[in-house]
């Protein structure tokens, strides 16, 4: 970056500057096509993975991916690392629990209410925190989510949240959620289509937003907030909108989590939840929209398989150090680099073959190559 970066901008170390490409509708259509194909193929997963335990891991990863997706969106487009998205996820989960258990709402209404409440919280919190950048933003989001956690475990909140006991969701008899009974909801294979569709649709929405003109504005703010202001742009509102949008995605994840689990542990609002999701997103990489999702799937898989002797956090920590030191762009970032290197070599070979003094043409080719590379 040639721009004047704020001195407290720690995010620069964690986020590789990503060039987000937009514009050409052709690419957009291809992307949408791929998204729909992924959606359809994914729906077949319960027929392939028949083992309930494996299926429940995949479902957990899918739901947690929405949290990571929200965190990743802020990191990718604004370079802002949030520890507050766990609060939206958790608030939405509790909202589902309270609406169904305390108020006797139908599950569908409860889910809609939960997403709205989570988004509203993101709006209020966003007004307070999105002006901060780098470290300030990180700490403020952490503080606010910790405050919320403390509120949720107060004795006086027991009626709503169950305090330290957690919240067991109990339904009115014969309630169904989009055709699923309470017993069906807990079945990972039957709940899968909802979680998977929600994840893919959220991913597509965030991807499209990222490539829109609004996405360019966000990139401009990420790269040089001051110059954006001096170019006539409001830099507060776009950051707030991005924060609320990513918070809504996290809320959707939280609501689905509560529907599937039927029980909410207070840990959901705790630091560990938000931290784990951020770590998963970092390991996956922020450079492309899939990064946090891949990171979350790996994280959930590793958590389930390497949790021996209570050393899970030690292993997590080691892995994080390895990734940050040797793969600064995360797993997806490193794959992209490898891919570019291979393509780079191809180009050199073909350059040598075709060297015939057409400098201008090859310059142009270089420019378009550069552009193409940045589109990855």
């Amino acid at each position: 970056m040639t721009t004047t970066a704020p001195a407290d901008d720690i995010t620069g170390d964690m986020v590789e500057p990503a060039t987000v490409k937009r514009g050409r509708p052709g690419r957009m259509l291809i992307g949408l096509g791929v998204g729909i194909a992924v959606l359809l193929v994914g729906l077949a997963v319960p027929y392939v993975v028949t083992d309930t335990y494996r299926m429940s891991l995949l479902l957990d990863a899918t739901i947690l991916s929405m949290l990571a997706l929200g965190i990743g969106f802020m990191a990718r487009h604004l370079g802002m690392i949030s520890l507050g998205h766990g609060a939206f996820f958790g608030t939405a989960a509790y909202a589902v629990g309270v609406a169904i258990t305390n108020w006797g709402w139908s599950p569908l209404n409860a889910v809609i209410f939960a997403i709205l409440l989570g988004s509203a919280l993101a709006l209020v919190m966003g007004v307070l925190v999105v002006r901060a950048s780098g470290f300030g933003f990180l700490m403020l989001t952490l503080a606010l989510s910790q405050a919320l956690y403390q509120l949720s475990v107060q004795i006086s909140a027991r009626e709503w949240t169950g305090a330290y006991d957690g919240k067991l969701i109990t339904y009115e008899p014969d309630m169904t959620f989009l055709g699923l009974t309470q017993a069906d909801l807990i079945n990972p294979g039957l709940f899968w289509p909802f979680a998977w569709s929600a994840l893919v649709v959220s991913g597509i929405v965030l991807w499209v937003v990222g490539r829109s003109k609004f996405g360019t504005t966000l990139e401009g703010i990420r790269e040089n907030e001051e110059r954006m202001r001096f170019s006539g742009y409001n830099t507060f509102l776009p950051r707030l909108i991005a924060f609320v949008l990513s918070g809504s995605v996290a809320s959707l994840g939280g609501a689905l989590f509560a529907m599937n689990a039927g029980y909410i542990s207070p840990q959901i609002l705790g630091f560990t939840q938000a931290g784990d999701s951020l770590i998963a997103a970092l390991i996956g990489g922020f450079g492309i929209i899939l990064g946090p999702v891949i990171g979350t799937f790996l994280f959930v898989y590793a958590q389930a398989n390497f949790n021996f002797g209570g050393n899970l956090h030690l292993l997590t920590g080691l892995l994080l150090i390895v990734v940050l030191v040797f793969m600064p762009g995360g797993i997806t970032g490193t794959l992209q680099k490898v891919y570019r290197r291979i393509r780079g070599k191809d180009r050199q070979v073909s350059d040598e073959r075709g060297r015939s003094g057409r400098d201008i043409a090859s310059d142009r080719a270089d420019a378009s190559e550069l552009r193409a590379e940045n589109e990855q």
Binding site: T2, K213, N224, R227, R229, S231, G232, N374
Partner: protein, 233 residues
Amino acid sequence: MSIFEGRGLTVKYGAVVALDNIDISLEPGLVHGVIGPNGAGKSTFIDALSGRKRPSSGKVLLDGSDITRRSARWRRTKGVSRSFQRTSVFGSMTVGEQLEMVARKNDEPDLEGIMKTLGLDEIRDRVCSEIAYGTQRSVDLAIALIGQPRVVLLDEPCAGLVADESVRMLDHVRTVCKERNVAALLVEHDVEGVFRTCDVITVLDLGKLLATGDPASVRADENVIRAYLGSAA
């Protein structure tokens, strides 16, 4: 009436008076140079005029109305733009993308014309952080010129440029100012460049106004010679 004025601008950093009661007025189509040795308050001056730094006292007027407390964004939408001494561009974006982005906010009928004038049309697809420093300075200038601003405040556009790049940059500034009838303020270190380029010159020293007028009279001014040019020439 001048289009853009600073009246009695004073900026204090604690007990230090960085800018002491300075007046300036800009006219459309004229390049107004501001020179002065290091610490003269040139950058503070442009910050105070552009809304980056609120003056301790004094006023900034646009078309005669007080805009001292208006935000940078508001000023830009009303036609007051600025460039930066430390190159301020959008590193990860291509040259074309960032200029289009700025043009989207500030109606610009002739973006191609600006890019051609500044020699940026050839490199529109290059990522900005990968182009030469001198070219980045041109991008910085282009960003300030988009949207037909009526007033352009340029903070050392030639900082870090080699001699011939510097000459070209100042030529561009003058051409654009005349072609588009812009009121330009040019804060610059390169004294000879300023004398060559500007129609009016203001000299600052230690936050005080030393002289103002056309290049010939400023060059002949005793105070200026004593405080500034004398030691250089």
